[in-house]
């Protein structure tokens, strides 16, 4: 399937997921296990995406200028910099390290 196909398919499923919540019987809401899995899934996936984007290059593990972004973003978040600022700090850290000749 071409990329456009996956974009449309993922969007349709994303909408169906949202709508399903409005259509299922409300008593399902009392099942705490369901919302708990939805929550841990969110944390696990975001952690996984962070790690993958920081350390993977295709199918290899590499340590390059992106690690600087990870550390800088960590510090920025610790200092409660807003989201957009964190993203800019991450980009700047990688770009500067690369400019200096690393990674």
């Amino acid at each position: 399937m071409p990329l456009w196909g996956w974009i449309v398919a993922a969007s349709v499923v994303a909408y169906a997921t949202k709508l399903a919540g409005y259509l299922v019987p409300p008593r399902l809401l009392e099942n705490e296990r369901m919302s708990r899995v939805a929550g841990t899934l969110t944390i696990g996936l975001l952690a996984s995406l962070t790690a993958m984007n920081a350390f993977s290059a295709a199918q290899a593990l590499v340590v390059d200028a992106r690690v600087a972004a990870l550390i800088a973003a960590c510090i920025a978040l610790w200092l409660r910099v807003p989201f957009l600022g964190v993203v800019v700090v991450g980009a700047a850290a990688s770009a500067m390290l690369r400019f200096a000749g690393f990674g």
Binding site: A9, K18, A47, Q59
Partner: protein, 244 residues
């Protein structure tokens, strides 16, 4: 009480501006991941759930297949079903309003509504935040995508580092206790260990499986991981709350 004097609508608007602005980073990173400007814009218009959108382009930039991007985006969107159930109870939308409400059901619109006690205010908070974010998120996605397209080599500008920072920024507000931190570290480790062993995209699904099993078998708060990226509480002037 009307919209003009509604505190919830005011919070909703602040949330819309703060959230909409970071659409600019999604737009730039979307193009950097190899999507075209129109494909990036389509994700914001049609998928419209930030975490899943970032997941989709995150897998693509890692060299993953479209099917893996689809899988990661879909799993990350699962929490929106829980939000839909909560909002349906809270707002009881009917007919076409239900179809429209579903599309703007995301972390921030749900949190804005849930932060209110009065049913009318819940309604105003939800619609202001939801529609406001939709408009601004799409506007700034387009700006970001065009900017990213004009920048050229994304690595030179550190856009691959920006993606790392973006995912950490999405994760951070959900790490409010020791247990979610342990889960995040475990899933990060699983991913790193799987990268050399499996095709791109599969390590993410393995981490998702670990996270689902963790949620299914362990005990803990039912709303863990369902915190919004931008907390409406921070934007309401009458109820300040110390965070972390």
């Amino acid at each position: 009480m009307n919209w003009r004097y509604s505190p919830a609508a005011r919070i909703g608007l602040s949330i819309a501006v703060a959230t909409g602005l970071y659409g600019i980073s999604f737009g730039a990173l979307g193009v950097a991941s190899g999507l075209s400007v129109w494909q990036t814009i389509a994700l914001s218009m049609l998928m419209f759930t930030g975490g899943s959108q970032f997941a989709f382009i995150g897998v693509m930039s890692g060299g993953g297949a479209g099917s893996a991007a689809f899988g990661a985006a879909t799993l990350l969107g699962a929490r929106n079903a829980v939000y839909g159930m909560q909002l349906n109870q809270m707002l009881r939308p009917r007919g076409w309003r239900k179809l429209l409400a579903a599309h703007i059901t995301i972390d921030e619109s749900t949190a804005t509504a849930a932060g209110q006690v009065d049913p009318g205010e819940q309604l105003r908070g939800f619609w202001t935040a939801g529609v406001g974010i939709f408009v601004l998120w799409n506007l700034f996605t387009a700006i970001g995508a065009l900017l990213g397209d004009a920048l050229g080599d994304p690595r030179r500008w550190g856009l691959d580092g920006a993606a790392v920072a973006a995912f950490l920024g999405l994760l951070w507000p959900r790490l409010s206790a020791r247990e979610p931190v342990a889960l995040a570290v475990l899933c990060g480790l699983v991913t790193v260990l799987m990268v050399p062993l499996a095709p791109a995209g599969v390590p993410i699904l393995a981490a998702a499986l670990v996270a689902a099993l963790w949620g299914w078998f362990s005990r803990g708060p039912a709303d863990e991981g369902l915190e919004p990226d931008i907390d409406p509480v921070v934007y309401s002037d009458d109820t300040p709350r110390e965070r972390l």
